[in-house]
């Protein structure tokens, strides 16, 4: 009987102890992190998971850019499933901040003073009108003037510092060297290379409910007036830089210069499968300045962002991942990419990471002279009048501008088509569209 009582007591004690253990808060448990990235970012994210093993339980999942936008409303409905940190296209920050979606956390309160300092001007895209940060920009895609030094020397051209000088080169090419080109204008090329740097008011969010879209503004018409004659003469190609027809022109060595984003050198001008411009000819110069301006602004084409979910249980851990991707040598320089190259492929938007990347690009013997100086000069000169908007302003270039350019080859008409299309999109999403500030 005594034995039974003792056994019962022991079982009771064990039960209480085990229940206490079970109900103990899991203080010792590691923070957990669910990361969604696209295929180019996957190796870096997996490297981070490896480094953090034992400290943070990192789960990395492959998704396409913008995938969260398609799924977040499903997650909102069942109130779970949100990834903690997501890589996406730049405009996502506005869409995710929309209260209906509510999936971009304000991160200023998480950032240390030094980290904010490290952003410099490179993370301005992520700054809301309240002065707070809502994302971490992965890379800058600022436009610069890419040019073929050999062709410039052969034709006796000097590097243009003003837009009028660039267009004079275009006129000279049309007259003396027909068949040579100054670039392609479709996709978002005309926008990031000419309209945005010219401060043409498209997608300028004035407030949460007002957006300025005016394709007839003088800042837009000066672009179309300058480009149209050169389109007509074949100096500018009205289609896509990625089209087989234009790739053929470039591969025949007829591309003299091309205003394009900082990633153009590595991913469009250089690869054998693309323009295949030979070693020792290319470099980049700062953007030419529009007449009557005091700053030679750039536009951007691309430049992804990391957003952190307000539902993340460990937001600082999520932020640490984003900062690792943009600032840590193990990703920026060392990580092995899917194409077996190493390091970050594009201009990091974080000063420490950017310094590491500079060493990499400076050491590259492909370029006649390192394009880094021009990229760095333009990095702080992206015109900030263009803000992220809640509608798909980037997709509209393919949906409205490109088809009209292909049909009529009239750039003003194509820009008007874009403005009409985006005005409709903006109104559907509750913006008041205005043509004046």
């Amino acid at each position: 009987m005594r034995i039974t009582k003792r056994a019962a007591a022991a079982v009771g004690v064990l039960a209480i102890a085990s229940s206490a253990l079970i109900s103990m808060p899991s203080q010792a448990a590691n923070p957990s992190l669910l990361i969604w990235v696209d295929s180019p970012r996957l190796p870096g994210a997996k490297e981070y998971a490896k480094i953090m093993k034992g400290k943070v339980d990192v789960k990395v999942e492959l998704h396409s850019q913008g995938d969260l936008l398609a799924k977040v409303q499903l997650f909102n409905r069942v109130k779970k499933g949100w990834p903690d940190v997501v890589f996406g296209p730049p405009n996502d920050v506005a869409v995710l901040r929309n209260p209906i979606i509510g999936n971009a956390r304000e991160i200023s309160t998480l950032l240390k003073a030094q980290e904010i300092k490290n952003f410099g001007k490179l993370n301005d895209w992520c700054k809301g009108s309240d002065g707070k940060y809502y994302c971490v920009k992965n890379d800058m895609a600022q436009s610069v003037l890419w040019y073929d030094t050999a062709l410039f020397a052969e034709f006796g051209y000097t590097v243009p510092t003003k837009m009028s000088e660039l267009f004079a080169i275009g006129a000279d090419l049309a007259a003396k060297h027909p068949g040579y080109s100054l670039g392609a204008l479709s996709d978002a090329a005309a926008y990031s290379s000419y309209f945005w740097p010219s401060q043409c008011p498209l997608n300028n969010e004035l407030s949460a409910t007002r957006v300025l879209i005016n394709s007839k503004s003088p800042k837009c018409t000066r672009v179309t007036a300058a480009l149209q004659p050169l389109i007509d003469k074949g100096v500018f190609y009205p289609g896509s830089a990625f089209s087989p027809e234009y790739i053929k022109i470039a591969q025949e060595g007829k591309l003299v210069a091309h205003i394009g984003p900082s990633w153009f050198g590595e991913f469009v001008l250089r690869p054998a499968s693309s323009f295949n411009i030979p070693t020792g000819r290319l470099t980049a110069a700062p953007m030419p300045m529009w007449e009557g301006e005091t700053v030679n602004y750039s536009g951007e084409w691309g430049g992804g962002i990391y957003t952190i979910s307000p539902h993340a249980k460990f937001p600082r851990a999520a932020l640490d991942f984003a900062l690792f991707m943009v600032g840590d040598k193990r990703n920026v320089v060392d990580v092995v990419n899917p194409d077996k190259s190493t390091g970050a492929p594009t201009f990091p938007a974080y000063i420490p990471g950017n310094k590491l990347w500079k060493a990499k690009i400076d050491a590259d013997t492909y370029y006649k002279a390192s394009p880094y100086a021009a990229m760095a000069a333009q990095a702080g000169k992206v015109w900030t009048g263009v803000k992220p908007v809640r509608y798909d302003a980037d997709g509209a270039w393919g949906a409205a501008f490109a088809p009209e350019m292909a049909k009529s080859k009239d750039i003003q008409k194509a820009l008007d088509a874009y403005a009409t299309y985006t005005s409709n999109l903006a109104q559907q999403l509750g913006y008041e569209v205005t043509t004046k500030k």
Binding site: P43, E61, S64, L74, V78, A272, P338, D339, D394
Partner: protein, 305 residues
């Protein structure tokens, strides 16, 4: 008499000539459609033998080199330590489960609607037709919420169960069982004391080989390349199907989306062509294996005696 024989011979030779002309046109027409069907498939197979620049510069039906296939395959498999193999295995497993479940349930449902004595058969039949008309997009939110309630989100079972819902198969089975098996057979079996279950297992099922082949084929075709449902239900890489994984892999490359621009993923048009061939190949094989059974199944019930 001789005149009659002569004119008969003339008539025969004219008929033969007419039939030759007719055959010529019929054959030309068939060859034309065969060429139209084969050229895209041949292009798909040849595209991955070339490099990306060769795809733009060379004849579309020119052969590149065997090295081209190896390069494209290496580029696909190098990504994330050959995760593509995992996606292939997932696709095979999910589809095997879907084909088995969908075929059995559709056959049973069709039999019940056509031959059993349950009530509301007409209501079930109309419900099946309505389900056939409903676009899958309309069901996304209810299905997502339902799967969440049973904790199956991001679980392969969610895709398998939802994709096994096969109203077209149920309707096809209903037609088959209503037209191919005479009702008298069921009646006499019932007189001998057969239950509905025995009617199905002992009479209907053994007589429905052609139907089952047809159901399995359409279930496979409909789900092998399905992107949408796995896209909605799954979000862990280890659970992805081949079309879903490849979709995510390709979407960040300029080969499929020029606007993406910069990428360090070596996926170009030949890699995408090879992946397309990989996805299309099992469907081609399935079709070739089952074409006799398919034709027999499709003709079943077409003659009523």
């Amino acid at each position: 008499m001789s005149t009659t024989i002569k004119s008969s011979k003339k008539l025969k030779s004219a008929t033969r000539q007419e039939s030759r002309v007719g055959m010529f046109f019929v054959n030309s027409w068939l060859i034309f459609f065969a060429v139209i069907s084969i050229i895209p498939m041949a292009w798909l197979l040849l595209a991955s033998s070339k490099t990306d620049p060769e795809l733009s510069s060379r004849n579309p039906l020119a052969f590149g080199s065997f090295k081209g296939y190896i390069n494209a395959w290496n580029n696909l498999t190098f990504f994330d330590n050959g995760v593509i193999g995992r996606w292939v295995i997932n696709s095979v497993l999910y589809n095997a489960a879907i084909v088995v479940i969908a075929t059995i349930t559709a056959s049973l449902a069709g039999f019940v609607i056509s031959a059993s004595r349950i009530r509301f058969k007409k209501t079930f039949l109309i419900s099946t037709l309505i389900m056939m008309l409903l676009p899958p997009v309309a069901l996304v939110i209810p299905l997502f919420v339902l799967m969440d309630k049973v904790s199956l989100i991001d679980n392969p079972l969610s895709v398998i169960l939802i994709s096994s819902l096969y109203p077209f198969g149920a309707f096809l089975s209903y037609i088959y069982y209503s037209t191919t098996i005479p009702p008298e057979l069921y009646e006499s079996a019932r007189l001998d004391g057969c239950s509905d279950w025995q009617l199905y297992t002992r009479i209907a099922f053994p007589l429905s080989g052609a139907l089952l082949g047809l159901l399995a084929f359409f279930a496979f075709i409909g789900n092998w390349a399905n992107y949408f449902m796995p896209y909605v239900m799954l979000y862990s890489g280890e659970n992805y199907t081949l079309p879903l994984g490849l979709g995510f892999l390709f979407s960040s490359t300029p080969a499929i989306n020029p606007g993406v621009g910069a990428t360090s993923v070596p996926i170009y048009k030949p890699e995408i062509a090879l992946a397309g061939a990989l996805i299309a190949f099992p469907i081609m094989v399935m079709f070739l294996i089952s074409q006799k059974r398919l034709i027999r199944g499709m003709l079943a019930g077409s003659i009523k005696e």
